[in-house]
Every structure is written in C-alpha cells, then in structure tokens.
C-alpha cells in the first residue's frame, strides 16, 4: 500500500490506514531508544529547520533530538530573537530560511493555518509542530501510539478529554485521530471552553460539563493544560478550576479500573492534575515523551527520505522495495 507523505500539516486529512502506517513506522524507533548507541547516519548531511514562533521547550527539544539521532543537523529559529518581531512577514522569513537550503521545516506558530500558508510556498517537507488552535499532529500520533501500546489497540477506545478544549490544538488533533478508529469521545470542561460546535468535529462526541460524569467508564483520561497564553478573555480563577476540574485520585476511581492517564505537558501539578495521579502507575506521561521521540524520528525519516529523488533501479537489492 502506498503512503506518500509530502507534508504533515494535520491529522484531519489522513485516513486510518495512513495513521496506522505512521504508528507502525514509529515502532522501530521506539526500539532504537533502547540502543546503547543512539546515533544513526540515516539523515547525515540533511538539515532540519526548527521554526518556532511560539515558545516551546519540550517540543522543540524533542524534534531537535529526533533529528540529531537520525544524524541530521538542525537550524534553530526562535521568535524572541527573530526578525519576525521586527515586522518581517512570515512569508519573507520563510524565504530567507529557504535560501539556506533546509531539507525539512518543523514549524510552530500562534496562528491557525500558518503551517498550511508556509507549505503552499515551499518545496521542502513541512511538519506542523502546532499552529494556533488548529492542530498538533505529532502530539496526536504519540498519544495514539501510547494508547495503542497500553491498551492493545486503538479501535473503539473510550476517551475523556478535559480542560480548555476550545483553545486546544492537542484536543482537536486527538479528536480527529481517534474518531477515525471509532472512538467514543467525551469532552469536558468549563462552559466557556466547551462550545456546542465541538460536537460537529467528528461523529460520536458528547459534551459533558461535570468531570465526575465525564470520567465514568473512561479507558483513557487525557488532561489538558490551562492555556494562559492563548486566552483573549479573563481566565477562570485557579481555585474554581481545581475545585471542579482537577483530576484527583477520587475522581480517577470513577473511570475504568485500568484507565490510563495522559497529559501533553507541561503539567502543572496541583492545578489540572493531583501529584498522586501524575505519579501513579496509571500515568503514561513519561511514555508519552519517549514515544514523542520515536514518532518524530519516524516522521522526519518518512518525509525527508521520502522526498529524495527516487532511483529507477537499486543496484544493491534485487527487490528494491524489500
């Protein structure tokens, strides 16, 4: 089956077969994280541009490490020190970057649709590391890999996602991905972050305002961050949020007995999640980080190796595709 990926801009345009393919491609890279020598020469000589217009330590380091372990070099552009602050347009920033001939662009930006804007104007692969409120595809893939590994399969999973859903690209990408595998998705959060229109995102979504109700029977419990930097409005006081929406051990007991707890990070212990829950055996937070590395290595390999000019014949293998 042919899965040609030029860019990775979002989960919504992918089908279940393509997603399964990407998750399967991540497996050898999961294995690789256990090697004594974590350095390949596969992408030696290739350069990955990390264009982060929004501050992010974890995702950027994850991509940088993934590139380095594949043997690639990285070019780092961060908003604080970038010419974007001096009024240069996104399109011009990208053209300047292209003149340095990167082999792929990993991009995070605060405007929804920014990755698409860039991908339309460049001929190197673009990987969306988060665009505004829209999508964060590698996060959803690493979450799916984690769920698949812990639960055995993705199909029909009962997941509850709670927090600031409206402003969460992690939520959107996860909703798109899991719904393609027949998941039953429950969304929960304070009313102003849980608009009715969320039901239109995919089939089998229900909106439940109370966390206790939302957690009943959940196999996967995903806590989201409170997005301080993304709010245009006054935010909910922390005490209100903790009272009604913190994931405590008592609340977690309402979920399925072997439910797993996930969080995209960074966690604020004591805010959206009780420290006891964060450190419990049900918590997958550290696996998510390791899987993030595996997924990003797989994506970088897939897109950069895939964009090389294909050879008509491979001399050293009688069956080139083997």
């Amino acid at each position: 089956m042919s899965h040609r990926f030029r860019h990775l801009l979002g989960i919504e345009p992918l089908d279940a077969a393509q997603i399964t393919f990407l998750l399967d491609q991540a497996k050898p890279f999961q294995e690789f994280q256990r090697h004594p020598l974590k350095k390949l020469a596969t992408l030696r000589g290739k350069t990955v541009a990390l264009l982060f217009f929004e501050s992010s330590t974890r995702t950027r380091i994850s991509f940088a490490t993934a590139a380095a372990r594949l043997g690639a070099d990285t070019m780092n552009l961060q908003a604080e020190s970038s010419s974007l602050k001096k009024g240069e347009s996104l399109v011009d920033t990208v053209h300047t970057l292209l003149a340095m001939k990167p082999d792929a662009i990993v991009m995070r930006h605060s405007s929804s649709g920014a990755a698409e804007l860039v991908a339309a104007r460049v001929d190197v692969p673009v990987i969306n590391a988060g665009d505004g409120l829209h999508e964060h595809p590698t996060q959803a893939l690493l979450d799916a890999l984690t769920i698949r590994d812990r639960r055995g399969k993705l199909e029909g999973c009962k997941i509850t996602i709670f927090g600031d859903i409206l402003h969460s690209r992690v939520a959107r990408s996860n909703i798109h991905l899991l719904s393609k595998f027949g998941a039953q998705i429950t969304l929960c959060g304070p009313a102003m972050w849980l608009p009715r229109e969320l039901e239109c995102l995919a089939p089998n979504i229900r909106l439940v305002p109370r966390l206790e109700e939302a957690l009943k029977g959940a196999e996967v419990v995903m806590a989201l961050r409170i997005q301080q930097e993304r709010l245009h409005e006054p935010s909910l006081p922390a005490e209100e949020y903790i009272l009604n929406y913190q994931l405590t051990p008592a609340r977690l007991r309402l979920a399925s007995p072997d439910a797993i707890v996930m969080h995209p990070g960074p966690m604020i212990r004591g805010l959206e999640i009780d420290p006891a829950v964060a450190d419990s055996p049900q918590s997958c937070v550290l696996e998510q980080v390791t899987n993030g590395l595996a997924v990003r290595m797989a994506i970088l390999f897939e897109l950069i190796a895939g964009s090389a000019e294909p050879k008509e014949q491979a001399k050293d293998s009688s069956h080139a595709a083997d």
Binding site: H35, K39, G306, S307, A308, S317, H319, A321, D322
Partner: protein, 182 residues
C-alpha cells in the same frame, strides 16, 4: 520498463540442496557452531537464515539463535528508499557483544547492503566476528566485501537482475536471471 526472465539459475529442488550443503560447510568451518548466531538481512535473508539455523541445529545440537536486521536506516543512499520509505523493527534476541555472527542474505552484489548491515550491528554492540553467507554472489563489488559461504557464483551484466523467490515470501521457489526491457 519491465523485466523478462532470461534463464533459471536454481530450481525448487536445487535451493534446499544448496542450503543443506551451506549448512554443513558452516558447521565445519565454525568449530561446531557452539557460539554461532545467525542474522538474516531483511527481507529474503530472514527465511534463508531460519532454514540454515534449523539444519544446523539438527546436525550439531547447537542453539543457533536467529535474529532479523532491517537495514533501511543504515543505507548510504536515501534515494533507494524514496518515494515511500518503510522501516521495520530489527529483532535480535541475543547479545551482540562478543558474539560470532553469520550474516545471511540472498544476493551479494555491490556490497553496500552488507556494509549497511554491519553499521547496524555495530550500533548494537561489538561482535567478536562477522562472516557472510549468501545464496548467490553475482560479482560487481563496489566495496571490499567478501562472502565466506556462497551458494553459487554467477557472472552477470549490469542490466541483469537476479530474482530470488522463496516459499515463505513468494509462494514459489527458484532463482532466475532477469533482463530489463524497455
């Protein structure tokens, strides 16, 4: 551009016979195969390694573990995998450090696959020794690689392709020389 069969090199009877002969050679030249481990290079090296191990175990009572190695990430030329790279897990159920490894592949040609396989092995540990066993050696080496155990040596031209078909993968069993035709 497509390929047409030019001539058959090995039949469904000759392949197992050759493997039998190779297995006995290996046992002879390995001092009994006590520490020997086989690693099949994906894709067709794997069933060949498994068959060889089975024969060696039967005749020598040695353990002879078998591992599999995917060399996609170790290739020196990304364009050989474009446009649709597929990487699979390698599975090596024994320690590489200090091991006596026999790499098994179907065809030895330029030697680049073997170089990639060795790179992969050295990422995992430090073997005591690596030797190579191939079903067909077709010449045209581009690197200083040699096979200790060879099923059959063939003279080929650059435009020819050696096609190996094995029951486990192709539901057929023979080796053919193919020609490229425009």
């Amino acid at each position: 551009m497509h390929v047409v069969e030019k001539r058959q090199l090995m039949s469904a009877v000759e392949i197992p016979r050759t493997l039998d002969r190779l297995a006995h050679e290996i046992v002879e030249k390995s001092g009994g195969a006590k520490d020997l481990a086989l690693i099949g290079v994906r894709r067709r090296g794997i069933p060949l390694a498994e068959r060889l191990a089975k024969i060696i175990r039967a005749s020598s009572r040695a353990q002879v573990p078998v591992g599999t190695l995917d060399i996609t990430l170790y290739r020196d030329d990304l364009s050989t995998v474009a446009p649709q790279p597929v990487v699979q897990a390698s599975e090596i159920p024994f320690a590489i450090d200090g091991s006596d490894i026999l790499l098994v592949d179907d065809v030895l040609y330029t030697g680049r696959t073997v170089r990639a396989a060795m790179n992969g092995l050295f990422d995992l540990g430090r073997p005591r020794r690596i030797r190579l066993c191939v079903l067909i050696d077709r010449g045209h080496r581009e690197l200083p690689v040699e096979a200790t155990f060879v099923g059959r040596s063939v003279e080929t031209s650059d435009t020819e392709i050696i096609e190996v078909r094995l029951q486990e993968i192709d539901h057929d069993e023979r080796v053919m020389v193919m020609d490229r035709v425009d």
